[in-house]
Subunit: 309 residues, 2 copies
Amino acid sequence: MNQRSPPINVTLKQVRAFVAVVQSSSFAEAAAVIHLSQPALSSAIKVLETTIGGRLLIRTTRTFALTPEGESFYPVALGLLADWDGALDNLHNRFALREGKISIAAMPSFASNQLPIAIRHFKDSYPAVKIALNDVIAEEVVAMVRSGRVELGISFDPGENDDLLFSPLFEDRFVAVLPTGHPLLKQNEVSASKLLEYDFITLQAPSRVRQLISSEFASEGLSLAPAFETHQLVTIGRMVTSGLGVSVVPSLCRQQMNELGAHCLPLVKPCIRQQVGLITRRRYPLSAACQAMATTLQETFTGGLEKMI
Amino acid sequence: MNQRSPPINVTLKQVRAFVAVVQSSSFAEAAAVIHLSQPALSSAIKVLETTIGGRLLIRTTRTFALTPEGESFYPVALGLLADWDGALDNLHNRFALREGKISIAAMPSFASNQLPIAIRHFKDSYPAVKIALNDVIAEEVVAMVRSGRVELGISFDPGENDDLLFSPLFEDRFVAVLPTGHPLLKQNEVSASKLLEYDFITLQAPSRVRQLISSEFASEGLSLAPAFETHQLVTIGRMVTSGLGVSVVPSLCRQQMNELGAHCLPLVKPCIRQQVGLITRRRYPLSAACQAMATTLQETFTGGLEKMI
DNA sequence: CGATCTTACGGGATTCGTAAACATA
DNA sequence: TATGTTTACGAATCCCGTAAGATCG
């Protein structure tokens, strides 16, 4: 219906040339600004005027004036160029990691212990990139990645999955948590059967940590009958410290448990191992900033792992 | 300080190509839309991505997906292109007289009698062009053009002028105005001296019409001592019709006087002649729409003048 | 007559299109 | 294997720059 055929061939260069001429006092001066020869600029303006069907500049050999159309188009042209350059510049900045935003989800044990180190490394390299960190339980991490609410998740291996990708960062070996003066502390390591002779504290059922402990114990023929169940790892630490019982937690939490006054021992029979790594959506490429964060994480947790946990 | 160097080479074509690909289900389909070959489009996207420093599209041979940056750039790109095309289209439309706005000032005698005919002609040719008509006295017409409040004025010749241009449309010969049954109506024309034997009605002093009458009468040795002075030509007509006196008006007003019930006779000794024409600013080119209006006016009042007044 | 814009024309770079190689479902 | 994308390369186009011409103050 409404044909928009004619002025589709107008070039950015042509409009830039027009703006340059208006801002200058002569074609020659404008040409220098644009890094063009006078004739080239003259030609560019001419082509532009031909394309749009009328004159923007009335020029004599000595001077030039804007036509009414040129007068009203000039601020428009300024806006168009500003928008264009701004948008492209913004895009370029995001790729250059001079700005951007990352949305991560990480399970609390990782978020509060190892992640800050990696974030510090990242911020040192890319100070202008914003980071939104969701500190949620392992299952919620997976859910947030799957739903797209975050680009990157850090959690236990969710297993084979249609729409998720998992790339391991390190292996976490679960440890026993004991209060000061506990008899089992005399050993270098502790077995599950010994541990279950005491009141057992653990996270509530929906937790992945709880599931892992439960299933691994079962593989040894041991059934879990917790004396206490909580939602927070910190609560477990406090309860152990208070002498209410013993527990098993990811070794990620070892430092946290120590700070709460509890003690950790390696767990054997079964030795609960679980991969911790990055979770992303399949078929959804990472943003440049998130890719950089993923790389930073992988570099941070390559080799120097055991020292950190 | 803040360098904006890198993405200045991005082309409209490249962004159009990107948008076309996003809107299509394949490169091939998009290429057809853009009237480009697949390889050319592929190359364009590649150059674009190289320029901005990262990928916008992740493509396998079978399918493609937007990167997060591409995802967020796509609506921006749509906006940029829409703004660009809209602005250029608008500009083109103004030159093509498919839209636009004209500001005219015309003296009342012309505005109410001859101008509507010309405007009708203009509107027939360019129905979408808006016209703002200022119906003001001859001196104000000149002032409005000089100050730039209107592009085009229609009035008596303002004389030699530094900043104004005058191009005549026709010559107006002033006529005597007499009431029905007036003795002078028996003649074919009337002289100033005869006319001044009766009470004389005219416009007030600042009026150009008044000045002309006064000075021309003076050249015949006659001094003007008006019995009545008004601001409006229509009032003159009414006063003449009521038998309060006689007057002299531009022949432009002849029809109006007749409609008011007065009668007009050619005036001789002196025969007051005055050019009526277009007034524009020097060194300020007319907009395309105004130029068209000026042309229409000149065509309208070329040749067929005497019949009209 | 001097300064400035426009026209003319040759050289060069960019870009396009066809054809072949490549990759994935 | 078949479809669709990328690479390779020859060709056409477009654009730029130098030099000559035109025009106004």
